[in-house]
């Protein structure tokens, strides 16, 4: 019999962007709330692989919930990022037309966006002006639909910010907490057995993303099936920072299916995307056809000067969905159990989803909300040496010498930042990487990798051979030098 690790009014399952937005919203109220994550860190699921482009979206007929949350979430993002010290850049988007037919499609899109009240949209048909806005754009582009509110955000930065802020305001985070069973009790709610102990909850918000179907299945809710699409992308070296200023996107592939060249908040350039249905749900492989056969030629059609040799990291994201619209509603089996499965642009919508779930859905099924007077919306990120002035750097090093020891040469990340990331919850190399950018640059951890392993080993008090990249089974180095020779002693090769 496991002892009860915690009793909460609301438990959120899954620490991706949706769960993070919900828990942060919950932390504004006088109630007890916790978020459970099965992985050793937050933001280790689908959100990790999103592109971080936040846009107001195109309203579509069969997705009313997406329509209402996407634009609202997009417009909420700037303030939230300012409060949470999350990198945000209002880059704007250029949806381009290569011919008259595409131009007509842009004109139609403009009308639709205006009708839905999307602010800051205009059609740019002056080729000269277009080239002033985006100097490296293809000569073949004749017009572009400019949406000024499209922004780029750090996806993991937002999740860290939301959850750290929620925790600072009283919410609890449990990692390595895989939910194994849920027992419903009509009087008091639910009892959850997890790999991190058992929990009691009045309400459950199932934001388990790709695994939301499985979690719902624990209360015998089989009302939806999670599927999704794989999206292959390539990160390019920040040496070509500025090659695009806006998110430049091909009209041929609107909706979730976009070929785009995008700036990022870190200066890297992001290319996307080869969007596919794949047999295995959650498959994150990249393919040669996707990278070299699709993304590069298509992105070079938009920006012909894009140099392929500047690629530093191809990767795949997987966007879970449970139908044409976002699924955000109480379970038909138990109304105190709220299912959330977003879909394309879910990241844009996330903040509005958090608000919608907490302020509308949960009260509609009986949760009492009372504002917490002491709620503090402000969270400070780890100080990043890279982003500081020389004076600030000197001052920080004066306080903690580890900030003067640079561990990651490509992204100028100091040991102080890595230690602070571990203090804030990083347990793995990816956890350190997403919090500090150590290993995210052009050498992809070649230089800092062994050093980060050592720091993780020291700070966590575990041997280097137990440090993982992203949790169980992903150990970075397997043996100590000489160990294999001692193993083989006696027997000859």
């Amino acid at each position: 019999m496991q002892k009860v690790a915690g009793k909460f009014d609301v438990i959120v399952i899954g620490a991706g962007v949706a769960g993070a937005a919900v828990i942060r919203e919950l932390s504004k109220y006088n109630l007890s709330a916790a978020i459970l994550e099965k992985e050793p860190d937050v933001c280790f699921g689908a959100t990790k692989g999103t592109h971080g482009i936040v846009h107001c979206g195109f309203p579509v007929d069969d997705a009313p919930i997406k329509n209402r949350t996407e634009m609202k979430g997009c417009l909420m993002m700037e303030q939230a990022c300012a409060d949470l010290d999350v990198p945000y850049q209002k880059a704007g988007k250029l949806l381009v037309a290569f011919n008259e037919e595409e131009l007509r499609a842009l004109q139609k899109a403009l009308v639709s966006l205006k009708r839905n009240g999307v602010p800051g949209v205009e059609l740019v048909t002056d080729k000269d002006r277009l080239r002033v806005m985006e100097p490296n754009i293809s000569d073949q582009v004749i017009a572009a639909l400019h949406t000024a509110n499209t922004a780029v955000v750090s996806p993991w930065g937002l999740v860290f910010g939301l959850i750290e802020n929620a925790v600072a305001n009283g919410a609890k985070l449990y990692i390595d907490a895989k939910v194994q069973s849920i027992t419903a009790n009509n009087e008091s709610g639910f009892l959850l057995q997890t790999s991190a102990g058992s929990f009691a909850a009045g309400y459950i918000v199932n934001a388990a993303g790709l695994f939301a179907g499985k979690v719902a299945g624990l209360i015998k809710d089989n009302s939806f099936v999670v599927s999704g699409t794989r999206q292959q992308r390539i990160v390019m070296d920040k040496k070509i920072e500025g090659i695009v200023r806006h998110v430049v996107r091909d009209l041929r592939a609107t909706g979730a299916h976009g070929d785009f060249v995008s700036p990022t908040v870190y200066g890297d350039i992001l290319l996307g995307a080869k969007v596919e249905n794949v047999p295995e749900v959650g498959d994150l492989r990249t393919t040669r056809e996707g990278l070299d056969g699709w993304i590069l030629p298509r992105c070079r059609r938009l920006i012909p000067s894009l140099p392929p040799q500047m690629s530093i990291k191809p990767f795949s994201g997987y966007i879970p969905k449970a139908g044409a619209d976002y699924l955000i509603k109480p379970s038909p089996v138990n109304s105190r159990f709220i299912n959330i499965v977003l879909g394309g642009s879910g990241f844009s919508a996330s903040l509005a989803v958090g608000e919608y779930v907490v302020n509308e859905i949960l009260p509609s099924v009986g949760l009492q909300l009372q504002k917490k007077p002491g709620f503090n919306p402000i969270r400070k990120d780890i100080p990043h040496i890279h982003d500081l002035t020389d004076e600030e750097r000197a001052e920080l090093i004066g306080k903690d010498p580890l900030y003067g020891h640079i561990v990651c040469r490509c992204e100028t990340v100091s040991e102080g930042e890595i230690v602070e990331a571990i203090r804030r919850g990083a347990r793995t190399r990816d956890g350190v990487k997403f919090r500090t950018r150590s290993g995210m640059g052009r050498c992809q951890g070649g230089f800092c990798g062994p050093r980060v392993l050592r720091i993780l080993s020291r700070e966590l008090g575990i041997p280097v051979e137990q440090v993982t990249r992203k949790g169980e089974g992903s150990t970075e180095v397997l043996y100590r030098t000489k160990e294999l020779l001692k193993e083989a002693k006696g027997g000859s090769k």
Binding site: I234, V235, L284, R285, T286, T287, R288, G290, L291, D292, Q309, S311, I312, K313, P314, I385, D390, E391, A394, E395, I397, G398, P401, G404, H405, I406, R409, C410, T412, S414, R429, C443, Q444, G445, G446, F447, G449, P450, L453, R454, V464, E465, T468, R469, K470, G471, E472, G473, S474, T475, E476, V477, L478, Y479, R480, T481, K482, E483, L484, L485
Partner: protein, 417 residues
């Protein structure tokens, strides 16, 4: 109170590898008064402390040494000088000859009269060459694995596939085998082994390591840790041929797929780069920015550490001349690679001093002749991309030379390799 330290020196050397060490010692010897050496790592030596194999020093010390031994000697020499050695110091900004560096003490601005770049090179990564598949732990560049095994004391895994038959790849094949791991195979994109024949014999043949030339890694399988590596034969455009896949069980993939001179700092202050990634240099090893000199692998990737030290020493001697105001600039002649020459260094000739031309060919040839413009020509039984060519031209031949120099390499196709 910001705590920023401002200091002025004659010469600042960035990088404490075989080049930077040589440059710092030489700069002091040549008369620079204040010399500072910046090294970002915990120890001096750059890549050499992890290169525990032999093959260093024959040219410079007239004795065959291991990498650590080579560095040991240079460090001993350095210790006799009053060069200010700053380890765990990262130069983060270069503005002309002014360096901003971070240490555990504070942020330091170093106003140098001359700067010598000795940052060396870095390895191309998986992302650079876009190897598809899962992205598990267990994919390492060969140099990172070498550091782990030989310096830090960890072995990445015990069933290893190596991509790239350059010298580091082959040396790691031997090293892993000796340490008790199994090298499942070594895979090379080109139809021939990339590194020295000596390494082919003593690192691969000695240990019966299977080699697949004209192959590449076409897939990596394993969600958390490498489980399998798939290789494929490649076509003329270097693309994998469907249907030729071979799958190997492995827990580790090592990549030895090329080195790139590390010039992010150089470009910050407008140092012009060549397509190889190294700065344009003249025969005095001065870059396009006055007062900034460069030597060793930051200019181009050398076969021999000895030449890294040597070129950096030359950069140092000229840096001191520059400070003293008598850099022997006579005129400017461009040097360009012609037929079958992938690159040639230096890129311009400005002095009347003897010049060492370094170059690599694009494709292997036999019975080859390399011509340095109309100045000299040299015959070679074989020329190979992996084997750097060095041709020394004496001062008297350089004197008064005013035309651009085109370097060409002619010869017969080499079928055997």
């Amino acid at each position: 109170m910001s705590g920023i330290i401002e200091r002025s020196v004659d010469v600042a050397v960035i990088g404490g590898g075989p080049g930077g060490l040589g440059a710092a010692i030489k700069a002091r010897e040549a008369g620079a008064k204040n010399v500072v050496l910046l090294e970002r790592s915990e120890e001096l030596g750059g890549m050499l402390p992890q290169c525990i194999h032999n093959g260093f020093g024959l040219h410079y010390f007239k004795e065959e040494l291991s990498g650590p031994a080579y560095i040991h000697r240079l460090v001993k020499e350095l210790a006799k000088t009053d060069v200010d050695v700053m380890t765990q110091t990262m130069a983060i900004k270069l503005e002309g000859t002014r360096i901003t560096a971070l240490t555990e003490k504070t942020l330091t601005r170093i106003n140098a009269k001359a700067v010598i770049l000795g940052m060396g090179c870095r390895e191309r990564s998986r992302g650079n060459i876009r190897i598809p598949g899962h992205r598990p732990a267990g994919v390492f560049t060969a140099g990172t694995a070498q550091r782990l095994i030989n310096v830090e004391g960890y072995i990445p895994g015990k069933k290893v596939v190596i991509l790239g038959s350059g010298d580091i790849g082959m040396i790691m094949a031997r090293r892993l085998t000796l340490e008790g791991a199994e090298v499942v195979c070594l895979v090379e994109l080109l139809p021939f082994i990339g590194g020295l024949i000596r390494n082919e014999v003593q690192c691969l043949r000695d240990f019966n390591i299977p080699v697949y030339t004209s192959h590449t890694v076409s897939d990596v399988i394993g969600k958390n840790r490498v489980e399998k590596v798939v290789i494929s034969q490649i076509d003329k455009e270097l693309k994998p041929i469907p249907g030729t896949e071979k799958e190997f069980e492995a827990d580790t993939l090592l990549l030895s797929v090329g080195l790139i001179p590390e010039n992010e700092l150089s470009t910050m202050t407008g140092v012009k780069l060549e397509p190889t990634g190294g700065p344009q240099v003249d025969d005095l090893w001065q870059t396009s920015v006055s007062g900034i000199f460069a030597g060793g692998n930051v200019v181009h990737v050398h076969d021999l550490a000895d030449y890294v030290t040597e070129s950096s020493e030359m950069a140092a001697v000229n840096a001191v001349k520059y400070i003293n105001g008598y850099l022997p600039v006579e005129r400017k002649v461009n040097v360009k690679g012609g037929k079958n020459i992938r690159y040639v260094v230096p890129n311009t000739i400005v002095s009347n001093q003897p010049v060492s031309f370094f170059m690599r060919v694009t494709w292997p040839l036999k019975n080859a002749t390399v011509r340095i413009g109309g100045l000299v020509s040299k015959k070679y039984a074989f020329v190979r991309p992996s084997e750097q060519i060095r041709i020394d031209v004496p001062a008297e031949m350089m004197k008064g030379f005013r035309e651009d120099i085109i370097v060409n390499c002619d010869g017969e196709e080499d079928v055997a390799r």
